[in-house]
Subunit: 198 residues, 2 copies
C-alpha cells in the first residue's frame, strides 16, 4: 500500500499535540476525515486564527489578544501585589477563590533542568522588570508544590529578594506533591491567607 | 477574567478530536500557543490541506488523493476476491501478512445500532455494487471479532448471499473479542488461511 501524502502529513502533525502518540494520531486523522470533516475545518481554522491573534500580555505574560490583558488594565486590582503562577489555568483557580485582589505574572512554564527548561525559558527577565516597577511591594509565589514548582519558587525568591522585594509563598495548605489545577478552591483559599514570607 | 475569543475557540475546536476532553483541549491549546507555534501551524495547514485533497476511493472506499486508489488499480491483484474490512488500519494489517492477493472494500465503520450507526453509514450500497461487478466471486469478511464486527459481518453476509455471492469469514484464529489492529500478523495469517464459507 502506497503512502498518502496529505493524510500522513496530517497524522504526523497531530503528533505535535501533547499526549498524542502515532496510534491516536492516526485514529484522529481517520475519524476527522471520515466522520467529522466539519470538526476538522473548525480545528484547522481555529488553529491558524489563534496563532495570528493570541500573544503574551506585555505586563503579566498571560495569553491575550490585546497588547495588555484586561486584568492588568483593571484599575480595581491592587498594584502593590504580584502573584506568580505557572499557567493561565493556575491563575484561574486562584481567581475563583476570591482571596486575591492583586495582579499576576504567568511564567508559562516552570524550571525543569532535566527537560532543558532553564530560567531563560520562563520569562524571568520579564518578571524581574515587572516586579521592580516601583509599585510592587510583595510578590506571592504560587507555583505548584511539586519538585519543579518548589525549585522554581526557590529560584525566583532568591532572585527577587536580592533586589530588595518582599517575597511570600502560598502556605502548605496545598498538599505536597499536588498541582494547583486539581486542588479544591477552599484549600487554595486557606493557603492564600496563610502565605508566609520566604 | 474575561474570555479570550481565539484561544477559547481553539480549545473548543480541539474537543472535536476523539478522546480529548475539556482539560486536555485546554492543555493542548496552551502548549501549542506557548511552546510549539510551529507545530500549531503544521497542524492547521495539514488539516485544511487534507480536507481538500483526501476523499474516498471510487472502488474500495479507502482514503486516497486520486479518483481510484493504487491498490485497486494494481493489475497484479486477483479481481475475483474482495476482502471487507472496517478501517484502513485493518487493511494494512492484512497486507502485512502477505496471505491475501485480492482486492478490498473498506467500510470506514461498523454497524452499531446503539450509537445510531446503521447500514446506510457503512457504505453498504457501494459495497453491494462493488461486489456484484461480475468479476468478484468470493467476499472475505474481515471485520473485527467483537460484537459489532460480528453483527456487521452477519448483516453483510446475508445481504451478499441473497445476491448469489460466495461469502467467507476469517477463521477464529483471531481471539474472540479481539480487534485486528492489535493482533499479531501470524495469527491473522492463520485466520486468513482457515477462512470458512458462511
Ligand atoms: Zn496581563
Ligand atoms: Zn481503492
Amino acid at each position: 500500500m502506497k503512502s498518502l501524502g496529505s493524510l500522513e502529513q496530517l497524522s504526523e502533525a497531530l503528533r505535535r499535540l501533547p499526549g498524542v502518540g502515532p496510534k491516536s494520531a492516526l485514529r484522529m486523522t481517520y475519524h476527522l476525515l471520515q466522520h467529522d470533516r466539519e470538526g476538522a475545518e473548525l480545528i484547522g481554522r481555529a488553529m491558524l486564527s489563534a496563532l495570528n491573534m493570541v500573544h503574551n500580555c506585555s505586563l503579566c505574560n498571560t495569553f491575550t489578544e490585546n497588547e495588555t490583558c484586561e486584568l492588568c488594565l483593571n484599575q480595581e486590582r491592587e498594584r502593590s501585589m504580584l502573584c506568580v503562577v505557572e499557567s493561565p489555568s493556575d491563575q484561574l483557580m486562584i481567581e475563583q477563590t476570591m482571596t486575591y485582589k492583586g495582579l499576576y505574572f504567568v511564567l508559562m512554564g516552570r524550571l525543569s533542568p532535566l527537560d532543558g527548561v532553564g530560567p531563560q525559558h520562563i520569562h524571568l527577565e520579564k518578571l524581574v522588570r515587572r516586579a521592580t516597577d516601583g509599585q510592587v511591594r510583595e510578590v506571592v509565589l504560587a507555583t505548584n508544590f511539586n519538585n519543579e514548582g518548589e525549585a522554581t519558587a526557590h529560584y525566583i525568591s532568591e532572585t527577587l529578594k536580592a533586589r530588595g522585594l518582599l517575597v511570600s509563598r502560598l502556605a502548605r495548605g496545598v498538599p505536597v506533591g499536588g498541582e494547583l489545577e486539581y486542588v479544591d478552591p477552599g484549600t487554595i483559599a486557606r493557603a492564600m491567607l496563610d502565605r508566609r514570607v520566604t
